[in-house]
Symmetry: C2
Subunit: 410 residues, 2 copies
């Protein structure tokens, strides 16, 4: 194992100890733990010969100059915030690996025809303000100013949190990157799924970040005594929801690449001796092709209508979010794939079902993503696990990619 | 409308104001509201020429002597406790109607060849200690002494609650009624179901209190990212539970008289973007014939085994409670039916899907029950509603029944 890969793991382990909560890893936007994490990573960046700065919202940016001060910038990175009770790789892996790429340039005293900026985004998970991608949205210039008024669970507005963190809410608009100065954004991230593990491969290249529809459905039947209401007279909201849930699963299995999930369910009154009167569920539908996703949503609405008619249960549905798919840059992806093929027998093209900062950065620059195998596909959980040998492959692929890009650019 | 029926309604309304909670009716075992309710009903009992006493656990008993002090006792009554945020008829109707029957005897200066005791049971719903039928179990001699150690939500043991209420835990065993001195137990109660309303009749006669099986099932699948885990690799606990829920409903509809309900569902982690990893549900199965209920439970276990195999989801099941059906006395039911037929065009025989104090009292004496129509079959809810005209029919039926029983007995 290379020392570089081991060092990446040591740093990821060190970051995992920087938490807002005792005994579990939780690092939210503009929190004290985020402050310490930024300070720690910034010091590593400076050791790697980078100049560091924090932008108006608190993104940490380390810069390694190219051969010319007017060169474009290749941005590498990921996010430093986490979910509650998180694993240690989701986010930090991409930041620390970017740093390792720069260390390799420093070690070989290499300057490129472009600058490299390693970014640690301040918020991707959106735990504190239920608003994801705060960091990348500032760099991409699509930050919503009204979000500054959002309050966290303690009533602190986002604007005040940013100020307390040392940022400057009023300077957020001017923190947008100049697209003309950016060459590309490339992010390394754990797969959060089981495909690479199934194929027994360390890394894969992301071609698309899937679009997503999030819908809330509420089934309103009629509560009643479980012992005294004949089956034929019931309007059981949970049975209606169960029928819908199975229809979603059936259709999801039929359509290649579609994932459709009912992850949340709330039942009222939820007592063993009362027929369920009202049930709310969440529906999450994703596919790399937007047309397929939209057709699925349409199909689910038809199922909803059928159940409503057959069961005398009212079903309200509300679209909570609709995001189109984001394609990765073909040029970047091809380079990543060529580099990956030098390190492993095949380089599978993957679609990312999860959202990433890359999806936001795509608004201003070509993006690429390299996925790294994670154990059991588990993420957002302390059991998140990545092998050091896979980190080494990812590092070698990225070093080779940067080399190729320089040749390509030069 | 007779004044007697109106008076019953007024008293039920007065009791509905005696609550442990503001703005909703909640009257739990041995609570301050229970104290005031008992005192109020006791004063009405004394006005009706009854002597009153409270037994060791806090049941309120009013006695109207028969022609001889050694006569057997006909016990009429129901419970004075309620569920949380209750309706006003479930329980109190039977107590206040019993009192009205005695008032009719007092008005006509009539003494019977048996005494009448009107009982207001102190606990049938089991809200405070999650242990139902505390009151009737004491009179029937099947109270479990270990229940005295149970603690309520504030940590107060049942023994201390009884003492604070003025009862005597150590005297509970001797509070058992002598079966030889009891003629029968007859309870008037709202139907809690829609059958009488469907038939447009005021009252019906209960032939059986259905047996009940309560089972808890836990489906353990595998949580995973909703965006990144292909449908084919999922072990979705909620989909497995949904399949079970629909199978329960299907079978319940096929078997005449069977009611099978999944009323409770708990999903973990219950997040819109996470595949459900573990789901627990309650299953409640009731039928007046125990063999049919047992066959249903067997069938549900077979369904469970099939789902477990097909879906690679582990399903644990645990029987929480199993109660056999309790037949009402044929002699008492026939008398009730004859009396009912004098007041309405037909007197349907009903099976009670809900449990009642009568099911416990059946251990020591013949029991009978008269059901009164309630609006929409709704119970355990502030919307519980009974028409005064139906109360009048119930009162007339009970007066006639008592009269018939006296003739029968004499």
């Amino acid at each position: 194992m290379s020392d570089a890969a081991k060092k990446i793991m040591q740093r990821i382990n060190a970051l995992a100890k920087i938490s807002d909560e005792q005994r579990q890893l939780t690092r939210t936007f503009a929190s004290p733990a985020m402050r310490r994490a930024n300070d720690t990573v910034a010091s590593w960046m400076r050791d790697a010969g980078m100049t560091t700065r924090a932008d108006a919202i608190g993104n940490l940016i380390g810069r390694y100059e190219g051969t010319s001060p007017n060169a474009k910038t290749l941005i590498l990175g990921s996010h430093l915030d986490t979910v509650r009770n998180a694993g240690k790789f989701d986010g930090p892996l991409g930041v620390i690996l970017a740093l390792a790429c720069v260390e390799e340039l420093q070690r070989t005293k290499c300057r490129l025809p472009f600058a490299i900026e390693a970014v640690g985004f301040c918020d991707e998970e959106g735990v504190r303000y239920q608003s994801t991608y705060l960091g990348s949205r500032v760099l991409a210039g699509c930050f919503e100013a009204t979000d500054l008024l959002r309050k966290d669970a303690s009533g602190v507005t986002m604007a005040d949190a940013i100020k307390a963190f040392g940022g400057a809410p009023q300077k957020i608009p001017s923190a947008k990157l100049n697209p003309k100065k950016v060459l590309a954004y490339v992010e390394v991230h754990i797969e959060q799924g089981p495909v690479l593990e199934e194929k027994n491969l360390a890394v894969g290249v992301v071609t698309t970040i899937a679009g997503q529809s999030r819908i809330k459905l509420t089934f309103t039947g009629k509560a009643g005594h479980a012992g005294t209401t004949p089956m034929s007279l019931r309007q059981d909201a949970l049975c209606a929801a169960a029928e819908f849930i199975l229809a979603v699963e059936r259709y999801g299995k039929e359509m290649a690449g579609l994932v459709a999930t009912v992850g949340q369910i709330q039942n009222t009154p939820n007592a063993s001796n009362v027929i369920p009167g009202e049930v709310s569920i969440s529906l999450d539908v994703r596919h790399q092709r937007d047309a397929v996703r939209r057709a699925a949503v349409k199909q689910f609405q038809a199922v909803r209508n059928d159940i409503e008619k057959e069961r005398r249960v009212k079903i309200a549905s509300q679209v909570i979010q609709e995001t189109d798919s984001v394609p990765c840059s073909l040029a970047i992806s091809n380079l990543l794939q060529s580099s990956a093929l030098k390190k492993q027998r095949s380089a599978p093209q993957l679609s990312s079902g999860a959202g990433h900062d890359a999806a936001v950065m795509a608004q201003i620059t070509p993006v690429g993503m390299l996925f790294v195998r994670c154990k059991g596909g588990v993420s957002h959980h302390p059991d998140e696990s990545v092998q050091t040998s896979d980190v080494q492959v990812a590092l070698e692929v990225m070093n080779d990619f940067i080399d190729s890009l320089a040749k390509h650019h030069g």
